[in-house]
């Protein structure tokens, strides 16, 4: 096997894995925005918070699987509390109120994790079965990254089934285009909002635990992911799950190959991508709104 081909493939797998994690975060962000018109600037903070919860679970139980199962659920409860008790209250003050509130929550989360866990990078060990490489068709692949890709694809599959094959999914899709009208048809939209907010933060939480063994857990974790997820939502089109998926994968590959070939520009590549995409399609690839 040619060493350079092997390197391309390895970078590709890294990019796909990051793209999948990015999708898990961005899909919640885009659905919440599409339905409720709320740009939740604390979304990536929940992603980070879940990574810390995961770290703590592993410290207590020694089990990565327990962390992956429990931490995102606790994170989702925090997300639901934010929606029920804080976002509802500022709704009357319009988008500015919501933006300020969610920025405030992200600052509280940031200081909170620093106060509890300190500022160092904390390692979260991956389970031994997922360590190392696997040989497929003469090529070596990192098992853990394949696991992330597979898990995200399973979640994407379940999400698509719910969205496109169930009544609840139909209601969510209708609410993405006109939540008030759904309400006027006799559907308890506030309850649907709570559900979507919960599922959205849960997925961000899953992403947080999943990426922790690769990136470690540290207070800056939310920044990079928050920016990338925001770009995904803008370029994919606000409220579009399909757009979020496509752009997440492209974004993951761009950052991965960018580090390899254009390392000094890697940090700005995502922004260049956003600028080019928006110049061609100002409403995002699959967007209907501005």
């Amino acid at each position: 096997m040619d060493a350079s081909v092997a390197m391309y493939v390895a970078q590709g797998i890294h990019g796909l894995a990051y793209g999948m994690v990015l999708f898990l975060v961005a899909s919640g962000l885009t659905l919440i925005f599409g339905m409720m018109g709320v740009l939740n600037l604390a979304h990536a903070s929940f992603f980070m918070l879940s990574a810390y919860f995961g770290y703590q679970m592993v410290a207590w139980t020694g089990s990565f699987w327990a962390a992956l199962l429990v931490a995102p659920v606790i994170t989702a409860v925090f997300g639901i509390l934010l929606e029920r008790f804080l976002l509802k209250k500022v709704h009357a003050f319009g988008h500015m109120g919501e933006l300020i509130l969610t920025v405030g929550v992200s600052l509280i989360v940031l200081d909170g994790v620093k106060a509890v866990w300190g500022t160092e990078s904390l390692p979260l060990k991956m389970p031994p079965v997922l360590e190392g490489l696997v040989q497929i068709a003469g090529m070596q692949y990192p098992i853990y990254r394949l696991f992330i890709i597979a898990m995200a694809l399973v979640l994407l599959g379940i999400l698509s089934l719910v969205l496109f094959k169930t009544r609840l999914g139909m209601v969510v899709r209708a609410a993405v285009s006109d939540a008030e009208m759904v309400n006027a048809l006799g559907i308890n939209v506030p309850l649907v909002f709570m559900f979507v907010f919960g599922v959205g933060t849960w997925m961000a939480g899953v992403a947080g635990v999943a990426i922790a063994p690769i990136l470690t857990v540290f207070p800056g974790l939310a920044d990079q992911m928050g920016m990338d997820a925001f770009i995904v939502v803008v370029v994919g089109g606000f409220g579009s799950l399909g757009g979020a998926f496509l752009v997440s994968i492209i974004g993951g590959l761009i950052s991965s190959y960018g580090v390899q070939f254009l390392s000094q520009y890697a940090a700005v590549l995502m922004f260049v991508f956003m600028a080019v995409a928006l110049a061609i399609k100002p409403k995002g690839l699959f967007g209907e709104r501005d």
Partner: protein, 237 residues
Amino acid sequence: MLLEVTNLNTYYGHSHALQDMSLTVAPGEVVALLGRNGMGKSTTLKSIMGLLKPRSGRVLFDDREITGLAPFKIAKAGIGYVPEERRIFPTLSVLDNLMMGVKGGKIDKSNPEAWTIEKIFEHFPFMKERTHQKGGHLSGGEQQMLTIGRTLMGNPKLLMVDEPTEGLSPIMVKEVRDVLRKISQSGIAILLVEHNLKVAMSVATRVYLMAKARLGFAGTVAELAANPEVRAKYLEV
């Protein structure tokens, strides 16, 4: 009375858009709410539906107070709302748009009076061939029919329709009028906001005319027909 609105006051910020508005609709009755642009007709419907929160006044429906409840609760109480801008779900199929109107998601097969997809197709035959098309691909008139059909699927006792003939061709206007008549014949009460006086007078039995945020005139269609001064004062431009 099926619907009894008493001294409703609604504001947009500081602007007092609805001032002591009162009206009633009896079971099965068709009532038209008329007036020039910007007089507060849509605001009245939205305030009844809970889409706007009235600052004072009462809305009774079926002898139950529903003032300012969440829209979904008001819809469940039995009021169907067909908004001015139609607001079908453009990314959903025609069938799914109709299913969105079904309360609780299950069509009530035990009740022979309940609306079913088949009954909707009898009223709106064009939908039958286009069940799987996206709502956004329908023409304006078809979208209007779809919003009416969607609301009927929820089996309302009262249908509030906001300017259903706006922007439609004369043929479509007639079709909408006939549909409203048929709905009325099936026993559903209608509160109709209309710009087209002919349509309003041919389906309604009573009318309310609005002047700048308040009630101007209330009477029967015959009284309005016999009263050119009232028409000149509240309707003609």
